[in-house]
């Protein structure tokens, strides 16, 4: 074996470790900046806004989830609430069943926030949400419906650089090859947004959901590219408009058929381009001797 190999393996090992170290170094630094003290505000205000407000108000009425005003007197205990926040799907006592019967079993687990942040949020909710103001958005106009449609298909770009809805979702009334299906792979019901308006609790609920999406992939994608207020109003208006129409049965999916036909055409083209190619040694020799 050559002499360089041990040196290279050592170099490789050091480089790998350095990369992993650098990777987590960067991550820790960013986590610290996020946890700076937030002045005189209640500690739970900001985490509530980003993690809870998309589906809940405190005294502002139902959205996708229940209004959390008076929560302290409703829930069985603080410990119960902590357990529920960490694992809503796994909490199935009588009280949890009652809530799920009304709102469905859709609450995402919040364990990743960690005990400290969850305690801050619980304090904040039990105190009635001090400092929490919900901005009332203007009413929608017919122009919003058209803008919403164009935002859905991508003809109008989302101002902060987020991908258009059609990237992963479909909806009634799309022409051509239709909308995306990525959302179906994370949960079948999320692909087609024709009924998203009703599913997300009507105008107020859908607006809140779009302003700070909590859905699996969307949450990550839109975290630093949020939709603007005007975009939220327009998309909600469009989805509301679509929800009133009855969906036609889904048409035949031509995507794969176009693909196969196109592939055959391309293979024929390749054959034509190389029509004078050197085919087979023996065949050519035999042909030439005749």
């Amino acid at each position: 074996m050559n002499r360089m190999l041990p040196h290279l393996l050592l170099l490789f090992a050091v480089a790998s470790l350095a990369c992993v170290f650098l990777a987590f170094e960067g991550r820790e630094a960013s986590a610290q900046t996020a946890e700076l003290p937030a002045g005189t505000k209640a500690a739970g205000l900001d985490p509530f806004k980003t993690s809870c407000a998309p589906c809940h108000t405190i005294g502002g009425g139902k959205l996708v989830g229940p209004d959390l005003a008076g929560l302290k007197d409703r829930v069985p205990s603080r410990e119960w609430l902590m357990a529920f926040l960490k694992n809503p799907a796994g909490t199935n006592d009588d009280y949890a069943k009652k809530v799920k019967a009304e709102f469905g079993d859709t609450m995402p687990a919040q364990a990743a926030l960690g005990d400290n942040v969850l305690n801050d949020i619980i304090d904040f909710m039990f105190a009635g949400g001090p400092g929490l103001t919900v901005k009332k958005l203007r009413g929608a106009t017919p122009e919003d419906i058209d803008l919403g449609r164009r935002l859905f298909t991508g003809e109008a770009r989302l101002a902060n650089g987020g991908p258009s809805c059609i990237s992963c979702h479909s909806i009634t009334g799309l022409t051509g090859l239709g909308g995306g299906t990525l959302a179906a792979t994370v949960g079948a019901k999320y692909t087609d947004l024709s009924n998203a308006f009703n599913r997300n609790g009507g105008e107020a609920g859908l607006r809140a959901s779009l302003a700070s999406p909590q859905f699996l992939v969307m949450k990550q994608v839109f975290a630093d590219k949020p939709m603007t207020e005007e975009e939220v109003i327009a998309l909600t208006a469009y989805l509301g408009d679509v929800s009133k129409t009855t969906a036609p049965p889904p048409g035949r999916d031509y995507f794969i058929i176009y693909g196969i036909v196109g592939a055959i055409a391309l293979l024929i083209a390749l054959d034509l381009i190389w029509i004078r190619r050197f085919r087979n040694v023996r065949k050519t020799l035999v042909g030439g001797s005749k």
Partner: protein
């Protein structure tokens, strides 16, 4: 946000996700660069794909040509999505253009699969080609086959990849290259896409140890020249 260093592990598959999509890619990159350079320094003349065209050229055309043009288009597409995600989203802002790019990608995906299957059948069925097939060739072919089938599966089931690649995977890949890894978005993707990403890492890791190194040989004039007859001039074994 979560951290791998967090003492109380959050519920769900997050730590394994960090291992697969943060640690693995860095290890793969280190292997890829160190071993590729090492092989070039030590065995410069092994940078080849060892032409078998002289042994059999009847079926080679329908394997090699669709495979190579297909895979070049697909790799270029993935690379463009990684390098200029905003440009891709801009292009896709007109649905007709989105359908054109997705249709073209699917067509290239299908001819890539056809080419690869032809190459596998040729290598397995022709005794002369089989005689010059190494174990690593088999590994490469199986891995590429799984990767191409997986890619087609993703293209068909998780549309529209050109858009969501730019929105979800381009930021993830950039987070790796800027040493601020954030695999939280990848964690939420379906397993079909995760397997496709891991398949790509596997190919990059094996790259320096296989015939795939021929990709790096410049000038890469065989992209546009015709096939040429290559005669093998093997060194006689010691037994002879």
């Amino acid at each position: 946000m979560y951290s791998l260093l967090q003492t109380a592990a959050p519920a769900g598959p997050l730590p394994i996700n960090d291992l697969l999509f943060v640690v693995v890619p860095y290890v793969v990159l280190a292997v890829f660069f160190s071993m590729t350079i090492w092989r070039y320094v030590k065995e410069k003349f092994s940078y080849s794909s060892y032409s078998s065209q002289f042994l059999e050229n009847q079926h080679q055309f329908w394997g090699s040509v669709p495979w190579h043009y297909g895979i070049l288009a697909l790799v270029a597409g993935h690379l463009i999505g990684f390098l200029v995600p905003r440009g891709v989203l801009w292009w896709n802002s007109v649905p007709a253009r989105l359908y054109i790019i997705e249709g073209a990608a699917l067509i290239f995906g299908i001819i890539t699969l056809i080419g690869l299957i032809n190459l596998i059948v040729r290598r397995a069925s022709n005794p002369r080609v089989r005689a010059v097939t190494s174990k690593m060739d088999v590994v490469v072919l199986v891995l590429l086959l799984l990767q191409v089938i997986g890619g087609l599966w993703v293209a068909l089931t998780a549309r529209w990849g050109s858009s969501w690649f730019a929105a979800v995977l381009a930021p993830y890949l950039w987070s790796l290259f800027t040493f601020q890894p954030d695999a939280s978005a990848v964690a939420q993707l379906p397993w079909s896409i995760k397997l496709h990403i891991l398949g790509a890492y596997a190919i990059f890791a094996l790259f320096p140890f296989t015939r795939l190194v021929h990709v790096l040989v410049v000038p890469n004039h065989y992209l546009w020249r015709r096939f040429q007859v290559v005669m093998w001039n093997k060194r006689a074994s010691k037994a002879e």
